[in-house]
Subunit: 197 residues, 2 copies
DNA sequence: GTCTATAGTAGGATAGAC
DNA sequence: GTCTATCCTACTATAGAC
């Protein structure tokens, strides 16, 4: 890795942390530069503007998220279906403990999206991709006869997706809830309810 | 209402809308003053600083939220329990359609809270109050024998509370989901799951 | 109670040297 | 590739007149 690439990555890393901790607006380029160990104008060699730096960071996160929920359908069976569904939630809970910055940054992009169509469009893509993954899993559950085909598959899938999403937000506030128990309850409720209807 | 009170309220109303639309940082006191029809320094007659205006607005919202979920336990019976629980969600969904500003503002205070203990403390109070209300309702459900006492009451209550909360966030992004169907599914899943265990 | 005028500060961004 | 120096703009906040 050359000097150029090194500084570039360092700026991104520092910006990621500072944006998460202080927010986009309250983080000035001067502060980032100081932390990186370069001067403010040097940042302009790598990024056209502060907005472009923020936007570039989003693109990087965007790529990461898309590989977040991965399910290997070949592994799914009627007997291990619930277990696999539980693991999806557990994994997310464990990861959010590890990187406390991610959600702080991400919720800021959500706010930006309310005023910027470019971000909004990409976030909506993420969101619908996200909802679709849960929906796919539930459709497969019908095939496996874990769920009745008359059960309200879509509502069940969206419910779990929305809960999954909000666990991250709650962890952000530092609430010490038993998230795994909540997720377990949700998964069991949804699956059992679908067998009885 | 005197002139003084009138201008004071007008500043708050204008600030509420502009903060929601553009965000705290991108809304200057000059913009608020222009919209109100006074000059910028005039705002300092009513508020010590911009931060104090933001903080005051939060206090007002804080009071509103606390009266959000109201349940009259005398009205609850085994036969109408699910119906009443459904109404709590429906009401929130309908109200968020009406005031699109509330969530946009509120999510900004959430971000502030991550860096300001004062906000964090109050938000945590709101959140635990909120979780407790759902928990109380579910404990009452056990009394009514709508739910088995061995059912995981706490997890069920927290699950519904978190879903309830995130419906607002999703509506903020403009996602056109069938929120009432999702809420209905959640309520039914949770109650039915609890009877069978 | 609201104004005009202005101080003081800090931000993003650019020009040009090395 | 990184620097110094500097510009422009916009903001919060204050002083003091009316």
């Amino acid at each position: 890795m050359g000097n150029r690439e090194q500084t570039f990555q360092k700026i991104l890393e520092v910006a990621y942390v500072m944006f998460a901790e202080k927010g986009f607006e309250k983080t000035s380029l001067a502060m980032i530069a100081a932390e990186v160990g370069i001067s403010k104008p040097a940042i302009y060699y790598y990024f056209q503007s502060k907005d472009q730096l923020i936007s570039f960071l989003f693109e990087e996160l965007y790529k990461e998220i898309q590989y977040d929920i991965v399910v290997d359908y070949k592994e799914l069976s009627p007997s291990n279906f619930i277990e696999k569904l539980l693991k999806i939630g557990y994994k997310s809970i464990d990861e959010q403990d590890k990187d406390p910055y991610f959600n702080k940054i991400f919720s800021q992009y959500l706010l930006l999206a309310a005023r910027d169509d470019h971000y909004m469009q990409q976030l909506l893509e993420l969101q619908s991709d996200y909802l679709a993954r849960f929906y796919d899993i539930f459709q497969y559950a019908v095939q496996l006869e874990v769920l009745d085909e008359n059960a309200n598959i879509e509502a069940k899938a969206h419910m779990l997706a929305m809960l999954y999403d909000n666990i991250g937000n709650f962890m952000l506030t530092g609430s010490q809830l038993n998230y795994k128990a909540i997720w377990r309850e949700a998964v069991h409720s949804v699956i059992q309810g679908g067998k009885d209807e």
